[in-house]
């Protein structure tokens, strides 16, 4: 969308709310309703990649050193990565206000 959604007037919307611009979902940072975030402890990490595999939002990515991190613009804080990490390298930490 060309401008933030709260600025649109009713008659400026496309018929049927069709979105003509492709791939604009990228502009929406959907991680803002997270209340916990994953924090990695690379000393415990065995680089198994389970956190990458299990993240339902595909926000976990591999760093240049072969460890893992989450893109917090999209991470929902669901905690699945921490639950699946067998050595306990991921801790869910409450978001600061």
């Amino acid at each position: 969308m060309a401008k933030p959604m709260e600025e649109y007037k009713w008659h400026e919307l496309n018929v049927g709310c069709v979105i003509e611009e492709v791939g604009n979902a990228r502009e929406y940072k959907t991680g803002d309703w997270r209340s916990f975030k994953p924090v990695w402890n690379n000393e415990k990490c065995i680089k198994c990649g389970l956190c990458w595999l299990y993240c339902p939002d595909a926000t976990v990515f591999k760093t240049n050193e072969g460890f893992y991190l989450s893109n917090l613009d999209y991470c929902k804080g669901c905690g699945i990565c921490a639950k699946e990490c067998k050595p306990g390298a991921i801790k869910m930490v409450e978001e600061g206000r």
């Binding site: 959604m5 709260e6 649109y8 007037k9 009713w10 008659h11 919307l13 496309n14 018929v15 049927g16 709310c17 069709v18 979105i19 003509e20 492709v22």
Partner: protein
Amino acid sequence: MKKGIEVSIAASIAAKLARVEAIAAYPITPQTHIVEHLAEIVANGELDAVYINVESEHSAMSACCGSSATGARTFTSTSAQGLELMHEILFIASGMRFPIVMATVNRALSSPLSIWGDHSDVMAARDTGWIMLFCENGQEVVDMIIMAFRIAEDRGVLLPVMVNLDGFSLSHVIEPIELPSQMMVDKFLPPYSPLYTLHPNKPVTMGAYAMPELYTEAKYAQEMAIINSKEIIKNVMDEFGKQFGRQYKPVETYNTENADFVFVALGSIGENIKTAIDELKGEGKNAGLVQLRLFRPFPSEELFSVLKDKKRVAVIERVMPAGAPNGPLFQEISSVMCTNSLLMHMENYIVGLGGRDVLPESFIDIFNGTACEKSTVPIRDKNFKVIGVRG
């Protein structure tokens, strides 16, 4: 030239004359003949259309949305439980502004199971954002289906249209009907030129979600589209009249000029009321009839201008209002009167549920004020009255 033909067959021929490109439908009594015949027309190669066999009406309406999104002129037809099974997709079709046309063969809803005609199906779907037309006879079914595509596909409208016809009392009768020529229909109905389509060369997103920041605006835009469609509907009806010689109006009247008493009704029952009016006339009594050809958007102004100086208005409905003070049509009309600050004497009669015969005598009894006395159960005052309940 008029030809004796079953109304359902005529309806499917009307869809063919409109050159529909996609049909997704599931058979349900009393609608079956329409889609059966359309399947035949497509199978014979008489119509170049995709006929999608689906496993339910929920899928039928979903497939219709899909085909309409690709820019195909889309038709379907349903009835009763089928319409209710489509219910959630009805909102999606109108919200996404797909100009689908559907012939709804009105039938009572289960339970108890009934295959016969009344308006409980369409009244349960009246606020789904569809334009709703009601037909009185077979000729109107044909004409309305052709007009429906012109209305639906108008760039100022782009909304789905439902053409309502009464189950059995219209769908299964053989009537003399004039079927227009393909040439005339082609002249009246240009090929559908969609505003947006699903196409790999120019991808768009349809049916995205709206946050609370946007939903109100989106719904308001849709509301304005259906409200503004009324003028376009009138123009399409006028143009149809000029070209085909049969003139329709959102609100039609019969003998209303001289009468202080008028009936208001929807659908085929209007013909019985006209018979009653003619009989009353023979006795020197004057009653009029107001028929709504258009129910959504509700033709408030047109209706008000006919009703405003009447002394007594009897609203005839074919649906049980289930706990409401009055039936849906009565509620709409009284709300029009209220917003115009006019209090008038209005009565609400429920007739013809689940296919029960309604004879012209019932309307004569309503006119004479004796209809309730003849009902054997006591009638509560100021609320709707059910005609002919056995106590």
